[in-house]
């Protein structure tokens, strides 16, 4: 589903964020991307979401070479990808419902379909009944769950998350990870960047460790 072949990413400043990274994630796999900050975790996720392009090497998503996706084809590509951010990136001028509905509106879902899927997504993250609330009135953990609901509402094939528990206490963090596990159980490929090793050490999933832009360790496919 996700395949990196000898990928390099050098920024205009000269800093090399990734130096020859190769790995592949099968469909339905769940993996953590670990490593110290500055190791290139975010860069790797940004290459998957086509926010950045590799300097060298190939990134294949769903057997599609991302280098061949023109600027104009990026939007439909991103519609099939769920992305969760550390800072949620919720829009504070609209309700929880409208935030979760945004990718569905963009994809052109019918009104009924939007309502159904937004409710389903909010139900999955435990926020059903909060549709009309403003995101600002929710706790940080709840806001992150809204962010996750938005990412999964269009039923993406791949879900990537950059430090989704970065601002949360351990209990909330565990809840969030359980959520991701549940989505993975229904077939979604999940890749989560985190530096919280304590949180994930008891989880059975695969771990890819980045150090200074290189893949330093790969625990291999975890137990399903």
């Amino acid at each position: 589903m996700i395949r990196f072949e000898n990928v390099f990413k050098r920024y205009p400043s000269g800093r090399e964020a990734l130096s020859g990274v190769s790995f592949s994630l099968e469909r339905g796999e769940f993996a953590f991307l670990t490593g110290p900050s500055g190791a290139g975790k975010s860069t790797l996720l940004r290459l998957i979401a086509l926010i950045e392009r590799p300097t060298r090497g190939t990134v294949l998503i769903n057997n599609q070479n991302t280098a061949r996706i023109s600027r104009g084809r990026i939007p439909p590509f991103r519609q099939r990808l769920g992305v969760v951010f550390q800072d949620h990136k919720l829009l504070h001028d609209r309700s929880v419902f409208d935030n979760v509905a945004l990718p569905l509106v963009i994809a052109g879902a019918s009104r009924r379909e939007i309502e159904r899927r937004v409710r389903a997504a909010l139900d999955q993250v435990g926020l059903l009944g909060r549709e009309s609330h403003a995101p600002i009135t929710l706790s940080t953990g709840e806001q992150q769950r809204v962010g996750i609901a938005r990412a999964v509402a269009p039923r993406p094939d791949v879900l990537i998350a950059d430090e989704p528990t970065g601002n949360l206490d351990p209990d909330l963090s565990r809840e969030i990870m359980e959520l991701f596990t549940r989505f993975n159980e229904v077939g979604v490929t999940v890749l989560i960047a985190t530096h919280d090793l304590e949180l994930i050490e008891h989880l059975p999933h695969r771990q890819l460790k980045l150090v200074a832009g290189q893949l330093a360790a790969d625990s291999g496919r975890g137990d399903p």
């Binding site: 979401a49 926010i51 104009g72 939007p75 439909p76 590509f77 991103r78 519609q79 099939r80 990808l81 992305v83 990136k89 919720l90 829009l91 001028d93 945004l102 990718p103 509106v105 963009i106 994809a107 052109g108 019918s110 009104r111 938005r150």
Partner: protein, 305 residues
């Protein structure tokens, strides 16, 4: 079919959202609309003035009378005959003969030079004919004048069509200047809207970034701003039409007073319906264009980080 309906639904939503956004910041929106309205009212108002001056010119041209001074030795009978001959022409509406004796009497009464006239031997004034040609066109007046000038009894034809020509030239010049002002102010409106939209884009950069991240196309992102520009232009143009109408209302009484003094039934004409439509549609198009320029220039700069 479903995707078309979706597309139309999105457009309707964008249209209404943009209007709501304008209404949510009434003061800032009103300022922008007012600037656009004034920029559009200027050329529209000038256009109305030039139109009115043109109408005035047309009504004057119809009365392009000219004076014919007969030779001093032409008798009363001959003068009357000449008047009849000229009056019989098909291109002449009517001829008034001002008898030289009557003219002297009038002059004596009105000029205050009575004593000076007494010092003169006889009547220095000739018979005068006032000829009113039928057609309003300057060329036809010229033809009548030429024929009259060729008559042996004629001393001098005082034909003052030069001012008509001059007035017409000046109106053409004024019209051209209004055209130029229209172009310049149209550009100004585009820039005003473009700049307003640029600020709007900056203040909504987070939203743009998120929409891009969840797969919003350039068109999807651009549309709300285009509709915002559309509303600015449309509302600004309607306000401009109101400003022009109000200005005309304010000018009406003094214009009527002046017209009455000249014994004219001249009435100030407003912006015709067709030109009002051009103003309103043009304003909306300019707003749209300004927004389009701003989005083309600034939306690409906002990429997810």
């Amino acid at each position: 079919m479903a995707s078309l309906r979706h597309y139309l639904t999105l457009h309707r939503q964008n249209l209404l959202d943009a209007l709501r956004r304008l209404a949510s910041q009434p003061f800032a929106s009103a300022l922008t609309v007012l600037v656009i309205a004034i920029a559009l009212a200027l050329p529209a108002g000038l256009r109305v003035l030039v139109n009115n001056a043109g109408a005035l010119n047309d009504s004057w041209e119809g009365a392009a009378d000219f004076a014919v001074y007969l030779k001093i030795d032409v008798s009363n009978e001959n003068a009357a005959r000449v008047a009849r001959t000229i009056g019989g022409r098909p291109d002449v509406a009517n001829v008034t003969l001002i008898d030289r004796a009557k003219a002297l009497e009038e002059f004596r009464a009105k000029s205050g030079f009575g004593d000076a006239l007494d010092a003169l031997e006889g009547n220095p004034l000739p018979h005068t004919l006032v000829v009113r040609p039928k057609s309003g066109a300057a060329g036809d007046v010229e033809a009548v004048a030429a024929a009259v000038r060729a008559m042996p009894e004629t001393d001098l034809v005082q034909l003052d069509t030069a001012w008509v020509t001059r007035l017409r030239a000046m109106l053409a010049l004024a019209g051209r200047m209004v055209d130029l002002a229209t172009v310049l102010l149209a550009i100004a409106v585009t820039i005003v809207v473009g700049n307003t939209i640029r600020l709007e884009i900056n203040s909504r950069s987070v939203e743009i970034e998120v929409v891009k991240l969840v797969g919003g196309s350039d068109g999807f992102i651009r549309r709300p701003f285009l509709y915002l520009g559309f509303w600015y232009g449309l509302v600004g143009a309607i306000a401009a039409a109101v400003i022009v109408a109000a200005a005309l209302l304010a000018l009406e009484p003094p214009v009527r007073a002046v017209a009455n003094l000249y014994g004219s039934g001249f009435e100030l004409a407003g912006l015709p319906l067709r030109e009002t439509a051009v103003l309103v549609v043009g304003g909306a198009v300019l707003g749209w264009a300004g927004a389009w320029l701003a989005t083309a220039r600034h939306l690409r700069a906002i990429e997810p980080k």
